[in-house]
């Protein structure tokens, strides 16, 4: 099994004192994503949120789609303040534009400042569990909409003048406690059938959300979550697996068919990479002198060889990959792509060339059957 190298992009880096850059320019994003692709990364994630300065991450992914060729593009979606119908067609469009490289990271928002930007909900009356329930419903609606057009719905049958076979278009009739959605989608089923849904999880509620609706979960080995330390790589993996057992794992990649596969688990790590470990630590200390890095994920400062060895440990503990968060994008992303990636490949951990053209393919996942196929 390939150990997956993923890159998490966050403006100019994950350290709050990372020097500023042209984050409003398309080239800034395109060059970072192309750099990650040079490192044969499975996917790149893009941070987002309405209360955070910056551009819409779904659109950044769409801008990069036509000028990249293999890497999976995973923007962030805030379930709490968006319409599942719109998000479903946006991610489906990303999948069409990239011929099957779309994913999303779903997240909830309990931030009162973010709620005030929309003025539709009172955060004081919401529970964390309720927000996670809603996010699971949000993903369920998206997934049903993606399946609402069967792959062969378009028939262009000149004999009967019919462009589509409407028996292959399906109402989804979702009714939940936050919304009801009738369907079908306006967008035909995307090339992957089901784009990849991911979530970041530090605590049990989030592990359960991932188990219900995600294909891929990012954990924070040796990190800190809302409830305190998250435990080592093996502990986070156990957290994910027990959540899957608890909910019976039927949510992801279609309520029927491929949904029984366990989620793939990638560990998150903030990285400072330098030629020697002292230089990396010194750089971290120097930046912390400007503003202190507070991180949910563990922070690594050291050499490429040391990091490769650490990730070998994660692989041995059963993780499917790592999502690296470059502390300073300009500095650490090229080291990930040009130095770490070849070292991991040399050790037989990661791929030596892209072996598939879709994100599902890179993750070793089949295109799932359409849940509505054959249903009248």
């Amino acid at each position: 099994m390939t150990f997956h190298l993923a890159v998490a992009l966050n403006d100019t880096g994950w350290h709050p004192a990372a020097p500023p850059g042209d984050v409003l320019e398309p080239d800034f994003w395109v060059s970072q994503i192309q750099e990650a692709e040079r490192g044969l990364a499975t996917l790149v994630t893009l941070e987002d949120g309405f209360a955070r300065p910056g551009l819409d991450s779904v659109l950044i992914a769409l801008r990069a789609g036509p000028v990249t060729s293999h890497i999976g593009l995973v923007p962030t979606v805030v379930a709490t303040h968006t319409e599942p119908f719109h998000v479903s067609t946006q991610i489906a469009t990303l999948d069409w534009v990239t011929s099957g490289r779309a994913g999303e990271r779903i997240k909830v928002s309990a931030d009162p400042a973010e709620a005030a930007l929309f003025g539709r909900r009172d955060p004081a009356s919401e529970t964390r569990e309720g927000l996670f329930e809603e996010a699971a419903d949000h993903v369920e609606v998206q997934r049903r909409l993606w399946d609402s057009w069967e792959d062969d719905a378009e028939i262009r049958d000149a004999a009967t003048n019919r462009f589509v076979d409407r028996d292959k278009l399906h109402y989804i009739d979702f009714v939940g406690s936050h919304f009801a959605v009738r369907g079908p989608s306006i967008t035909p089923r995307p090339p992957q059938g089901q784009p990849i849904v991911t979530a970041l999880a530090h605590v049990d509620t989030a592990y359960r959300l991932a188990a219900r609706c995600a294909d891929l979960v990012f954990t924070t080995p040796d990190g800190v979550g809302r409830d305190g330390p998250t435990g080592d790589a093996a502990t986070t993996l156990r957290g994910v697996r027990s959540a899957e057992a608890e909910i019976g794992r039927v949510g992801a990649s279609g309520a029927t068919g491929g949904g029984q596969q366990p989620t793939q688990v990638l560990g998150d790590l903030v990285v400072f990479l330098d030629d020697d470990a002292t230089a990396a630590s010194t750089r971290w200390t120097r930046l912390d002198g400007e503003r202190t890095l507070r991180s949910d994920a563990d922070v690594f400062a050291g050499t490429v060889e040391q990091l490769a060895t650490k990730l070998e440990g994660w692989a041995a503990a059963g993780l499917d990959g790592a999502r690296l968060r470059p502390a300073v994008a300009d500095h650490d992303l090229p080291r990930i792509a040009r130095d770490l990636a070849p070292e991991l490949a040399r050790r037989g951990l990661t791929r030596t060339a892209y072996e598939a053209d879709t994100l599902r393919g890179l993750l070793g996942l089949e295109k799932p059957a359409d849940r509505y196929a054959g249903v009248q």
């Binding site: 409003l24 320019e25 398309p26 994003w29 309405f50 209360a51 955070r52 300065p53 910056g54 551009l55 819409d56 779904v58 659109l59 950044i60 769409l62 801008r63 990069a64 789609g65 036509p66 000028v67 303040h81 968006t82 319409e83 119908f85 719109h86 067609t89 946006q90 489906a92 469009t93 990303l94 069409w96 534009v97 011929s99 400042a113 973010e114 005030a116 930007l117 929309f118 003025g119 057009w149 262009r156 000149a158 009967t160 003048n161 019919r162 462009f163 589509v164 076979d165 409407r166 278009l169 936050h178 919304f179 009801a180 959605v181 009738r182 369907g183 079908p184 306006i186 967008t187 035909p188």
Partner: protein, 440 residues
């Protein structure tokens, strides 16, 4: 600039939407969803130095008689998303899309459009539309929450609020209106165009006033010159009271075209396209929009039905036989429309299908490239419009004949650019820079 003083034509290319315009049975008609089609279409428009390309929106599949309507091209991407992707494969052409004001929130829309503006180098445009119907609402969180009489209020407030958000330049806002109670910091600084170009469609008194006060371009259906001249004078005449120049609002009717090497050949081509666009089944479907009932037992090659349309459950009720189609709204008096169709059929000896073709299948410009160029230039120079939004009937290559054969003739006349004047859409449309209203 050493351009002659002649009035310049502005052109937009409409990526065909979900309707019978597209002859999908034509072998040249490719996918309406694969990115390659959007790339080719956008690059064709840019090759022709078009001001912008445009995509319409529909947030629910259309239904007729309780069933999904299956005769037309259907399936479409999310508009802002596909425009953003097209930005990656073009450099100058503007990127315009419809975004509904009823089923979106201003912070999200304003942030997306500002992002599109940055990530396209200043080429974003927004056609603000409104809807209230429960039919579309069934796909969204709040359903059919908006009373019909508030739909324009919401659209107007949505646009006003979006402009206020853009004008914060990434700063604080505190906005309380009938529709919105929002406060906080807008996450994006002022984008290259200040505001994306704002487009409005609609001919009503309310729509004209709204456009004159707030829009940069208005889409119309005035394909006839005299009606165009009257509309143009009316709308342009409203601009001064809002402190705007006549150039600050571009009037762009929708138009179709069919070319031929001779006038006869063009007319014959147009006739063939019309019969492809309105098949016997499509003719019945059009008639059902007027009659508001099932007409599957009517012969499309026979006469126009002698009975009257169903008048209860009209389009505003949400229970019309045809749901989710804007075109039904043009039949305000279906009984009169049916009578008009009958009289036309009897006078000309036409079948129902031929009447439908005459009423719905007419092409705006039919002729040799020279004739079409002459007509377009005359229309614009006579102040019947500032240009056109052209809709081809083949995707993605349908604009190519116009780009290759008509554009050079317009350029020869000195009425159309030979290279893009600016880098932003606002510059290419010749609009004034956005004035930022100071925040209190």
């Amino acid at each position: 600039m050493t351009k002659p003083a002649k009035k310049q034509i502005h052109l937009a290319a409409h990526f065909p939407g979900v309707n019978n315009t597209t002859v999908w049975s034509d072998p040249a008609s490719a996918s309406h969803i694969e990115f390659e089609s959007f790339r080719l279409f956008a690059q064709s428009a840019e090759r022709g130095l078009f001001d912008f390309l445009f995509l319409a929106e529909g947030l629910r599949l259309r239904e007729q008689g309780g069933k999904i309507y299956d005769l037309d091209v259907m399936g479409r991407p999310d508009n802002v998303s596909i425009l953003q992707a097209m930005a990656a494969v073009t450099s100058h052409v503007g990127l315009a899309g419809t975004v509904n004001s009823t089923f979106n929130e201003p912070l999200d829309v304003a942030r997306k459009l500002a992002s599109l503006d940055y990530l396209s180098g200043g080429r974003a445009a927004w056609n603000v539309v409104t809807s209230w119907d429960e039919f579309t609402g069934e796909n969204f969180r709040r359903g059919g929450y908006l009373p019909k009489e508030k739909r324009y209020l919401r659209a107007k407030e949505m646009l006003d609020v979006a402009k206020q958000l853009w004008d914060t330049d990434g700063g604080e806002f505190d906005i309380h209106t009938d529709q919105f109670d929002i406060t906080g910091r807008f996450p994006v600084p002022r984008s290259p165009q200040g505001h994306p170009v704002i487009i409005q469609a609609g001919d009503s008194e309310e729509g004209r006033e709204f456009a004159a006060s707030s829009a940069d371009a208005i889409f119309t259906r005035h394909g006839e010159k005299q009606a165009g001249i009257e509309f143009y004078a009316d709308v342009k005449g409203r601009l001064a009271k809002f402190g705007r120049r006549e150039e600050d609002l571009k009037i762009l009717p929708a138009a179709t075209f069919v070319l031929g090497d001779t006038e006869d050949e063009a007319a014959e081509n147009a006739r063939q396209v019309q019969f492809q666009q309105i098949s016997p089944a499509t003719a019945i479907a059009f008639a059902e929009q007027v009659w508001n009932r099932d007409l599957s037992d009517v012969d499309p090659d026979g006469p126009v039905p002698s009975f009257d349309p169903v008048t209860e459950n009209d389009v505003d009720s949400g229970q019309h036989f045809s749901r989710g189609r804007a075109s039904v709204r043009q039949y305000r008096d279906p009984v009169a429309t049916a009578q008009e169709w009958r009289e036309l059929g009897e006078a000309k000896g036409w079948s129902l299908r031929e009447v439908v073709i005459a009423k719905n299948g007419r092409h705006t410009f039919v002729g040799t490239p020279q004739r079409v160029a002459d007509t377009i230039d005359d229309f614009v120079q006579s102040n019947a419009s500032d240009g056109f939004v052209l809709v081809p009937h083949i995707t993605p290559g349908g604009m190519d004949p116009f780009v290759d054969q008509v554009v050079p003739l317009l350029q020869e006349k000195g009425s159309f650019r030979t290279s893009y004047e600016g880098t932003t859409l606002r510059e290419n449309l010749g609009l004034s820079p956005v004035r930022v209203l100071s925040q209190s």
